[in-house]
Amino acid sequence: MNHLPQAWGRPRDDVYGAYDHSYFQTSGPKQSTQQPIVTGTSVIAIKFKDGVVIATDNLASYGSLARFTDVKRLRQFNKSTILGFGGDVSDMQYLDRLLLSLAIRENYSSYSSASDDTDDTSNLESLNAKNLHTYMSKVMYRRRSDFNPLWNQILVAGFGNDEKPFLASVDLLGTTFSSPSLATGFGAHLAQPIMRKVVPDEASVANLDKETAVQTIRDCMKVLFYRDARSMDKYSIAVVTKDGIDLKEDEKLENQSWAFADRIKGYGTQVV
């Protein structure tokens, strides 16, 4: 038997054959995230005249396995800004902590209580949704430039500098865009056409009331549950208005009708 230190802890060559040194090489090119692991599916959001409605389901999938069923993917930043995360859940948790530390630091410079202070500067929220979206885009672009992207697509909902409803997206490449309605993941294919019927352009946002906006989002969540195999019927929905954020994290899809299902052909074991 070989007692040399080089062989310590190694499988014995006489039993297992020569050791394949190509395994567990640490000297190869550095690899960072190549794909998301635990993922959240679509985030959808729509602007209306007084604010934004945003929703995601509460599922975190491990591949096609519905692994975690109470994952809250809408994260509130401050009194009037909320973020919806699609993509990798661990990266979302990292970003959540990053945003928490940012919120704590922002609070240092404006700690006076927002209630009934007449001083005109004290009621200003230090970072609005637009500022936060810019910040997120810098974070995401920096990470993709390091070849170590945070595997998320994020919707930021709240209010901009002009006090108007704000909704914008940033993805793992740092790409940003904005629209009266936005959806990530499968939602971009399944929900976006429905939402675009309600708000085809920026001008039509002013005519959309809260009830219609909420109903549109709820309808879209239902369509997504019907058609997206990585979705779930429990979801979170938030309405951002000037009065604050109304966040409900334990909603259930009502009035499901699977009558259409037996008309769908061309999958599984059925013979068309």
């Binding site: 975690f68 994952v71 902590r97 530390s101 704590i104 609070n107 006076s112 209580s113 209630s115 202070d117």
Partner: protein
């Protein structure tokens, strides 16, 4: 030969010069010491040498630099903290150094993390550095443990930090005494970044009916020693503030936060009596329980409540004065 000769001569000259310089320096020192204002402690006494350097004990076991730092604190505006049953109040007598400063600006009570506040008396820049270090410690704790730092741990870490500044002769001790107030959450704390609620069954290492969190108040001195207090006071008016705090019977734990705010304002106004000629602003912050007015956050006391507390404080002072006058009059009459 000639070369070495010259060298010897040179060396000798140098030596003489050096002796001369030494003698002059020594003479200057003696002169300075005898003239020094510290002379009452015995001229060039044993003590004298020991207050020139930090980190050096005097033969009777004192560190003079630390004691001088305490003196610096005693010149600062009064700061107090009151630990109530459902929260903590911090109050500060902020002396206005110039009429050109914007009223209400330049806040001196700082927030650490979200649930703690710090107020300091003494050298302002030292207080600001203390705050910045405390924020770093709190952020570092979050990075490590993914949860807010308990007030006791922050006090411990900051105590160690301040104490380190009494150990080296390259630094001076902090010229501040700081009061730390915090509310440690009584609710079950989520881990930072947690997305779900975890298993719904099983103990999960939790102890049933164990009480967590509550109000905390610590005061750290320039020596680095710190204690937990029911009521803490430091700065110029600390003596009168302390005697007022003692009257509140804080150990009973019955004082409510709303009462505490009023008492804090009153005590600052009483403490200000001794330096009446100077203008001051009352700065007050509080941190309450999760179901209290600040929801576990450290915030400034709302203007309305503060002004009401100030009104009551002024009234209490006037009443006291009237009482004293009446007493004095009564005394005179008795004599007659």
């Amino acid at each position: 030969m000639a070369v070495s000769c010259t060298r010897e001569v040179l060396l000798e000259e140098l030596r003489e010069a050096a002796v001369d310089v030494e003698a002059r320096v020594a003479a200057l020192q003696v002169e300075a010491w005898t003239r020094s204002s510290l002379q009452p402690r015995g001229g060039i006494s044993r003590e004298l040498c020991y207050d020139l350097s930090n980190s050096v004990f005097s033969p009777d076991g004192r560190n003079f630099q630390v004691e001088y730092a305490v003196k610096a604190v005693e010149n600062g505006g009064t700061a107090i903290g009151i630990r109530c049953k459902d929260g903590v109040v911090l109050a500060l007598e902020k002396l206005v150094s110039s009429k050109l400063l914007k009223p209400g600006a330049n806040k001196r009570i700082a927030t650490i993390d979200r649930n703690m506040g710090v107020v300091s008396a003494g050298l302002l820049p030292d207080g600001r550095h203390f705050t910045s270090r405390a924020r770093d410690e709190a952020a570092q704790w979050r990075r490590m443990y993914k949860a807010p730092i308990p007030t006791s741990s922050l006090a411990d870490r900051m105590g160690s930090y301040i104490q380190a500044y009494t150990l080296y002769n390259s630094v001076r001790p902090f010229g501040v005494t700081c009061i730390i107030a915090g509310w440690d959450s009584e609710a079950e704390l989520a881990v930072d970044g947690q997305v779900g609620s975890g298993p719904t069954v099983g103990a999960g290492g939790k102890v049933d009916k164990m009480k967590h969190g509550g109000p905390f108040l610590y005061m750290i001195e320039p020596s680095g020693s710190y204690w937990g207090y029911y009521g803490a006071a430091t700065g110029k008016g600390r003596q009168s503030a302390k005697s007022e705090l003692e009257k509140l019977n804080l150990t009973e734990g019955t004082l409510s936060l709303e009462e505490g705010v009023k008492e804090a304002a009153r005590i600052i106004y009483i403490a200000h009596e001794d330096s009446k000629d100077k203008d001051f602003e009352l700065e007050m912050t509080w941190v309450s329980s999760l179901d209290g007015p600040t929801k576990g956050r450290h915030e400034e006391v709302p203007k309305k409540i503060r002004e009401e507390a100030e009104r009551l404080a002024k009234k209490a002072l006037e009443d006291d004065d009237e009482e004293e006058e009446a007493k004095a009059e009564g005394g005179e009459r008795m004599e007659e």
